[in-house]
């Protein structure tokens, strides 16, 4: 076949689009985990600002991918049906709310991180639905991708939180257990997502995802869980930080792969072949 049903990797979205999902996911997760940790003071302020910075970095990446970046404000025009518009609206509310929460936390107000955490969840939910709404890509339109992106976002954010633990000292044993649980949830959701793609996505897309899955299992789950166990048993803050360092990039790699390596379309398909002359009816 010269040019037909074999799917090919989409080229419209590259590493810059992946950067939006990586930065946005990790940043949102960090803000949510900071709220869950009940962090306060300068540490909470710094963590919230770091989360916002990551989200901002992701949005800057996707802005750089726009064909007409000076028209970027047009992105707000379709809240009725577009998850990209909704993502932009969530980000617009999240940034001032997050900055205000960071300022208040710095001045001693506690428990203020919940508002940006809720908005961060809204932001990452919109991002996840954005991927699912891309009906041209089988690996993206699978409904389970929403749960996968939410789970990776939370796990990456928790990883970044624990990476910074030696500095902020806001961690605790229950939080470490939550981190471990998030890693387990992420890998379970990953396998559920991967199982549902069988027979739907292109073989090369599945091969790319399987490579990412191995990284997620080993580097993003087994290693950080082992380090977390060492941290819990031995009381080593460094081990917990290393666990965080392992967990976050593995999730980022999965997203990078999902966008830039597993974004195969479904090509073209004929339900029936044309019947010419007296030939019997044929199916492809």
């Amino acid at each position: 076949m010269s040019y037909g049903p074999q799917p090919w990797q989409q080229t419209a979205w590259d590493w810059r689009a992946a950067g939006n999902f990586i930065g946005g996911g990790a940043g949102s997760g960090l803000i949510m985990f900071t709220a869950l940790a009940g962090a306060d003071g300068a540490a909470a302020a710094a963590l919230l600002l770091a989360g916002l910075a990551l989200i901002g970095l992701g949005l800057a990446c996707v802005w750089a991918e726009l064909g007409r970046p000076l028209r970027a404000l047009h992105v707000f025009f379709n809240p009725r049906t577009s998850w990209m518009t909704r993502e932009a609206i969530a980000a617009t509310v999240l940034f001032p709310a997050g900055a205000a929460a960071a300022l208040l936390a710095y001045t001693g107000v506690s428990g203020i991180a919940w508002l940006p955490a809720v908005l961060a969840f809204a932001f990452i939910y919109c991002q996840s639905r954005m991927v699912q709404a891309a009906r041209g890509i089988p690996a993206w339109r699978e409904p389970c991708v929403v749960a996968l992106l939410l789970a990776t976002s939370l796990a990456e954010g928790a990883g970044l939180f624990w990476l910074a633990q030696p500095w902020h000292r806001q961690g605790s044993t229950p939080l470490a257990l939550v981190f471990g649980a998030l890693l387990l949830v992420r890998i379970v959701v990953w396998y559920a997502y991967r199982a549902r793609l069988d027979g739907h996505a292109a073989p090369r897309a599945l091969a790319a995802l399987d490579r990412a899955g191995r990284v997620l299992l080993l580097g993003g789950t087994v290693v950080p869980l082992a380090l977390l166990a060492v941290a819990l048993v031995g009381g080593s803050a460094a081990a917990a930080a290393w666990a965080g360092l392992a967990a976050a990039p593995a999730g980022a790699f999965v997203k990078f792969t999902l966008i830039t390596r597993a974004g195969f379309n479904q090509g073209f398909a004929l339900q029936r072949l044309p019947v010419r002359g007296q030939a019997p009816r044929a199916t492809p």
């Binding site: 726009l66 970027a72 707000f76 025009f77 009906r135 004929l270 029936r272 019947v275 492809p284």
Partner: protein, 216 residues
């Protein structure tokens, strides 16, 4: 109501690409951009090999994923079924391109020409508004609207009919109103077996492919 649609008879298409050329000339698309292209597809293993030529492009869906995801409303669906593009609104995010199951969307970031430097016709037809934004087949909507304004019938009168349909040497392509039971496309669909591509996705494509005569 009116629902403009296209019918392609796969038994008639010979893969001559005249529709592709007509589209390119009419819409002045740059190299590599084919709003109407013809796939040359082979099926089976030697010696049982079948071949089909399949014109594809924007399917002007009933529920177009591109319009749903578009954050700017640059992509719109008209009441008559035609999916349009507003180049002045588009930000070139390419979300529509990854959402279209028919790979009908293009984004050309900078002006490109067949021979490097623009030849006279390319220089004359270059449209800066179409750079770095999404583009696609419009069913030659301007031609249709102009024809309707003159009382012509799209699909019947060439002056109101998409360029690809006019150009087809084998009468493999037809254009008309699906909601009119007496239209050419309604008649073709009534007399023949047909399918729509990737119909399982629920997009409701506005392009129908005929593959055999109807057997009651």
């Amino acid at each position: 109501m009116t629902r403009w649609a296209m019918v392609v008879d796969l038994r008639r298409c010979v893969g001559c690409q005249t529709c592709t050329a007509a589209c390119k000339v009419t819409n002045a698309t740059p190299p590599g951009v084919q709003w109407r292209r013809v796939l040359d597809m082979e099926f089976g293993e030697y010696p049982n090999v079948r071949r089909a030529f399949v014109p594809v492009g924007c399917q002007h869906c009933d529920d177009p994923p591109c319009a749903q995801v578009c954050p700017t409303t640059a992509t719109k669906k008209r009441a008559d079924g035609i999916v349009t593009m507003d180049y002045d609104l588009c930000i070139g995010c390419a979300y529509c391109a990854v959402s279209c199951p028919y790979q009908a969307r293009y984004r050309t970031l900078r002006a490109t020409f067949a021979y490097g430097e623009p030849i006279e016709s390319e220089a004359r037809t270059l449209d800066e508004d179409r750079l770095a934004v999404a583009t696609k087949c419009t069913f030659c909507v301007d031609t249709i609207d102009a024809g309707l304004a003159r009382g012509l019938t799209p699909g019947v009168d060439p002056a109101a009919t998409p360029a690809c349909v006019n150009a087809c040497i084998a009468k493999a392509m037809a254009f008309g109103d699906l909601d009119d039971p007496a239209s050419n496309v309604s008649t073709l669909l009534a007399e023949n077996e047909s399918f729509r591509m990737h119909e399982e996705l629920g997009t409701g494509p506005g392009m129908y492919y005929l593959w055999d005569r109807h057997t009651p």
